[in-house]
Subunit: 260 residues, 4 copies
């Protein structure tokens, strides 16, 4: 059973009539619903407005995959929560980053890169093309599918070279975008997926749903979670795998911790 937490910023859903008209229960609810129609997955949601943005207690500990949608309020996400999400990814939690979350603190922290792009909100046609048909995230996805109204995101998308490029999108207005990309950080797998502007019903699209479900399965790392990924342990001379003697000058005293 893969435990998925869908995090939604939940701002435009309460302040913008168009968005609340499409997503009356919030985008996070609909994204969870779209993902949830699959055996072997259970979903919960969390939002910015909840205490600790809904990610307190053992929520992250009990999340195998976290899905993140944000746009207007990236800056309101507390750095403490960001630190915990990032650490949990390093431990092995999968992370699926959607659309405007390319500028979320969480994604920028994990990428170490600007994560910038070009954009245009014109309701134009987007064609999402599979460029890696053997990839698990593209499983049973047709060679291409259309989103009749989407926001254009254009290259250059200033992210680190991905582990694999799964989708590339064509836009009616003439641009292209690497719309499905994967990375790993520590034991955590990360997938960025471009579609999902809040003024269009993208998260009701069956192909988008298939991609997200596939991505959840792909991002789930069933291997035991790494404890303390930032730990840098000293290996005492007496515990060296091969017998050696200490020699030469030394900075640290016996048993001293390393600098951070």
């Amino acid at each position: 059973m893969i435990r998925v937490t869908v995090w939604g910023e939940n701002v435009h859903e309460t302040t913008n009539e168009i968005v609340s008209g499409i997503y009356p229960e919030g985008m996070h609810t609909q994204i969870a619903r779209l993902i949830g129609a699959d055996d072997g997955i259970i979903t919960r949601t969390a939002t910015l407005q909840q205490p600790e943005h809904g990610l307190g207690g053992d929520v992250l500990e009990k999340s195998d995959v976290l899905v993140w949608w944000g746009h207007a309020a990236h800056g309101e996400v507390s750095d403490a929560v960001v630190d915990r999400v990032v650490d949990r990814v390093w431990q092995g939690m999968g992370l699926i980053v959607l659309h405007s979350a390319h500028f979320s603190k969480v994604f920028k922290r994990l990428m170490g890169a600007p994560c910038a792009l070009k954009w245009r909100e014109a309701g134009e046609r987007e064609r999402v093309w599979v460029v890696n048909p053997g990839h698990p995230i593209a499983r049973d996805v047709p060679p291409s599918f259309v989103l009749e109204n989407e926001e254009m995101y254009g290259e250059p998308f200033s992210v680190p070279e991905p582990m694999e490029t799964v989708f590339v999108s064509w836009y009616q207005g003439g641009e292209v975008f690497r719309s499905g990309l994967t990375w790993k950080r520590g034991a955590g797998k990360i997938f960025y997926f471009q579609p999902g502007h809040e003024t269009y019903p993208t998260y009701f699209d069956a192909n988008v749903g298939k991609v997200l479900r596939n991505a959840v399965h792909w991002a789930h790392n069933p291997a035991a979670h790494l404890r303390d990924p930032s730990d840098a342990p000293n290996v005492p001379v007496g515990e060296a795998p091969e017998p050696i003697s200490e020699r030469g000058p030394k900075l640290h005293k016996e048993g001293e911790k390393g600098f951070r």
Copy 2:
């Protein structure tokens, strides 16, 4: 002409007799000297103790490659300076990260990963092996070379999968380490190199010097620097490469900036 700035923390050189005995003018001075014996390179140094850590004004703007050594005082490096270094890497400045700087703020920010490892300070033998003999950083470096006394750094080294692995090290005590790794972030090339513990005369070693000079040449990106790597420009409908008409609901008004 490649303009290199060697940044040194310069702490143990003034507080530890062993270190000051080896590096009486500071490690940064000796690293710059070791690199500097090459046509086409000019070096300067900067240290933690200087105003803005020696990286104020147009120093970064006029640095093609920055070399970073730090250990005891990672936490004292100001976040504002870190932000500027990171931004300058994204623009295209090369970055060479040495030894204990694996835990520097600058490196961790660019990697988005824990950057942790195992360590042992026993003055043991390290053999640095070239695993990518056609790589420019390995140019004229022998198949392997010995550092008779080095600090052991052991795997797992929790960095993102590199663009290329150039060196892997063997330690007398039984460990191994991927000791020369490359990445790119934005337009900036990054090289991490393991040797360089402050209680040993590593930065007087001719092979280490060859590696660092090669790395400076490799990290130098002569292409024009990217301006505003984090800029995410709107492309108005009227400026779309292909003629399109606006349709569907919209979040942003004409000329409005995107959310950050």
Copy 3:
């Protein structure tokens, strides 16, 4: 259920007393046994001496993962069988390449690289280190494990930069080797694993068994197999996703096939 075929060259087992003493039923039999102690996997074997090297009929079609061990007789493997194995990998069959099979036709064809290395047969100690502890192939494998007698394989290992480096080995004689590497070709996942010299009982080692079982699970691509991975279909003008008119001069007549 993952269907695994273990292919063994089966030459030294019948011509060399040391090898037949360790592996009286052939290395392939013991490798299959070592892998097979796991739910969800069924194994069969195939050898060079069988018709079509045991890979005729629908054997490949019904293999989800192929394990390949060869050494003395790489040149005797028929090019027709190599072509079919390579094509099947592109379709999505996993491939696990063991030890001296670094020079097998199958591996060299898929890598497009020399796949050379240094070697020494001295029965020296090898320590296999996990460098990517969150990787599925390293699941439940200890941070390092010892093979008291192995053949040394030394860098440079002239393969393409891997997708991920999972293991790096330390040798008593002073060398290192990237001993566990992954790639993808088409829809097929490939894992190379260094241990397995025929004069030592490596394929009785529990940790080696764990690695191979993990690798089988990792290499298995449950997504539907790609049909005709080398097919390059024409998309007629009338079937273009967006309506276009043909214009300009043309080389091919309507319905003509492309050049190969």
Copy 4:
């Protein structure tokens, strides 16, 4: 001085009026001319019809970068020449593969992958977008440029995941293609570039010229060429970097060569 050899198949130039009308001296001549307008580069050409396809003697030895255009006659290129080109790339020669040469023997051998794609010859508009603006191959190339008439190449392009994606193309008919990709094999750098259908004047385009010149500079590996990239030397026990004694059973006698 970078020594570039432009190899052209030179078939349609002599058999098809459209092609000979655009390229009366052969495509290879015009490609060489387009590249040649740059200090520091000297070009020569070679064609299929010449003895050893113009690549005999020391031509390859004296080529720093080889540019390859072929389409109708991939099958006529002799395997012996392919072997020598591939070996020379491993040694460090750069290789630039153009358009329909995605199906050349040389490229397929180096990729180890099907290298297939979709295609349509309709003279439609192609927009080439820079996705990696800091890459040397994109230096001084505008954010996008138009080729008013090109052959459509569509994804999936079944090549190994590249080292870096430099360009992605948009087509009028609705497809996309990763049109500029890089890899390394041995010491050799490889760049594939999509534009260049023989019935259009693509190799007179100034932006295409800029890309090719940049690619020549990027692909040139000034490091000393690797000798015998396929050599797998034995390291005798007496020459092990660390003193070891031989132990355990052995397959090879002293001084014996390894199996191939």
